[in-house]
């Protein structure tokens, strides 16, 4: 073994990465070469000094808290934070509650993002397409009634979820009826509401876009789109009403949905 080989391998020796044969070779060489012996000794001393020093960092409590909160959030609600980190780096969780029209309680369970990824884009585009398609004559409703007790059972056997059907007539969102629609080649429940002359389609599906794992608040082709996940269901709301009114709608649905689901 020459000094060049030894110089590389003595680190492997220090790190316990050499097999017995090579370790013996390095040590034999160091026994006859004082330069290599000195290197071995001083690098080993440095290695040991580093092992003995407290060079590890401890994650600050607030970071640990943020990560734990993240991991307590179902995957379908997880949003890539990259876009949020700058410039509003410190306001990640706080930012949603303040930035959206949602109540604190709802905001805690919803994560609304303003930037979407390409896959999300696909779903969002499909949702908007479905909405536009529904506005064509005769396509809006399969079951036309303002009675939620008629709409909800109608979905039985047509989609694999029991969507919450919530009557918001008293709050100026009139229930028009329901429809079977397809998003991403999956059958979804579409519940149709109206505010003044504006139609709101609420698409409900089990894990629609779960593999896309994002939530959005966006405007596509002039339509406002809201997406959230709740109680194991994915919700998409689409309408041409202004964003703040759609936020209000989302808020009301999100609040009422837990009580509604299961009670058909």
């Amino acid at each position: 073994m020459n000094c060049d080989e030894s110089e590389l391998l003595l680190h492997a020796l220090i790190d316990g990465e050499l097999d017995a044969g090579h370790a013996r070779d390095v040590e034999t060489h160091a026994g006859t070469c004082s330069a290599c012996a000195q290197k071995l000794a001083s690098f080993r001393a440095m290695h040991e000094a580093m092992s003995d020093s407290s060079l590890k960092e401890t994650a600050p409590a607030h970071l640990r808290g943020r990560i734990e909160a993240l991991l307590a959030t179902p995957a379908s609600r997880v949003v890539s934070m990259r876009e949020f980190l700058r410039p509003t780096r410190r306001s990640f969780f706080g930012g949603f509650a303040v930035g959206s029209a949602l109540s604190a309680a709802v905001a805690a369970s919803l994560v609304l993002a303003v930037i979407r990824g390409d896959q999300e884009q696909t779903i969002a585009d499909e949702v908007v397409s479905a909405h536009i398609r529904s506005l064509q004559a005769g396509h809006l409703m399969d079951v036309e009634t303002s009675d939620r007790h008629t709409v909800k059972p109608w979905f039985n056997g047509r989609v694999d979820v029991a969507p919450p059907v919530i009557d918001l007539t008293a709050e100026s969102f009139t229930l028009l009826g329901g429809r079977l629609d397809y998003i991403d080649n999956e059958p979804v429940a579409a519940i149709v509401y109206q505010r003044r002359k504006h139609v709101i389609n609420l698409f409900v599906a089990q894990r629609l876009g779960a593999k896309h794992a994002r939530t959005v608040s966006d405007s596509i082709q002039g339509y406002n789109v809201r997406h959230w996940s709740q109680d194991g269901l994915d919700f998409w709301a689409v309408s041409d009403i202004v964003g703040s009114e759609l936020d209000e709608f989302v808020q009301k649905i999100a609040r009422a949905a837990p009580q509604s689901s299961g009670a058909s």
């Binding site: 110089e7 590389l8 680190h11 492997a12 790190d15 990465e17 330069a35 000195q38 290197k39 000794a41 001083s42 690098f43 001393a45 440095m46 290695h47 000094a49 580093m50 092992s51 020093s53 407290s54 060079l55 590890k56 960092e57 401890t58 994650a59 600050p60 970071l63 640990r64 943020r66 990560i67 734990e68 993240l70 991991l71 307590a72 179902p74 995957a75 997880v78 890539s80 934070m81 990259r82 980190l85 700058r86 780096r89 990640f92 794992a213």
Partner: protein
């Protein structure tokens, strides 16, 4: 979700440690760790092992590099780009060619060692941190850094040579003769 939590959360300090050394400030490190866990969560379905720690560290490294690439494109000015450009030459870190090998390695406190490590050029800093602080094997370092084991070995050798020079230089410039910190380890 719980499975991911149980597997990934115990490595938070390790991930944060690497982030601190790669990003070199706490704010950027925290952002990187957060993004790392998000990406890990989203790709956990496709995770097939072998070990969670190097997998997380590899993701973290990618997050950090993506951030540096973004900055290098001019979005945020940083001195890191310069740092990267000199990594293969590093005249200021060369071993003194003619001088005899030092046989004494001075004792340094943890804060000094951290500073010296932090000042190493990126690929060498990464290698030494993964080895000495994150305690990864050569094979694991190779996986994290995406280079062959041979490259890991040469980077580590280089990193230690640079670190030792800086180490002894730090001793020479800061230690009072005769003081406790200059007592040294005689070999």
């Amino acid at each position: 979700m719980r499975r991911f939590r149980d597997a990934a959360l115990p490595h938070l300090d390790e991930v944060y440690t690497l982030a601190r050394y790669l990003m070199r400030n706490t704010d950027d490190a925290e952002d990187a760790v957060q993004e790392c866990y998000l990406r890990a969560l989203r790709h956990f379905d496709s995770y097939r092992g072998p070990a969670m720690k190097p997998w997380l560290l590899a993701i973290l490294r990618n997050v950090c590099n993506a951030e540096f690439t973004r900055r290098a494109r001019g979005e945020i000015p940083t001195d890191y780009a310069q740092d990267e450009s000199v990594t293969e030459e590093m005249p200021m870190w060369q071993e003194p060619q003619a001088s005899p090998e030092k046989v004494i390695l001075r004792q340094q406190d943890s804060a000094t060692i951290r500073r010296l490590v932090t000042e190493l050029p990126a690929p060498f800093r990464e290698a030494i941190v993964l080895r000495e602080i994150n305690d990864l094997s050569y094979q694991e370092i190779a996986e994290v850094a995406g280079v062959p084991v041979g490259t890991v070995m040469s980077r580590l050798a280089r990193a230690r040579a640079m670190l030792r020079s800086a180490w002894n230089a730090a001793e020479a410039s800061t230690a009072e003769p005769g003081s406790a910190t200059a007592s040294g380890i005689t070999l």
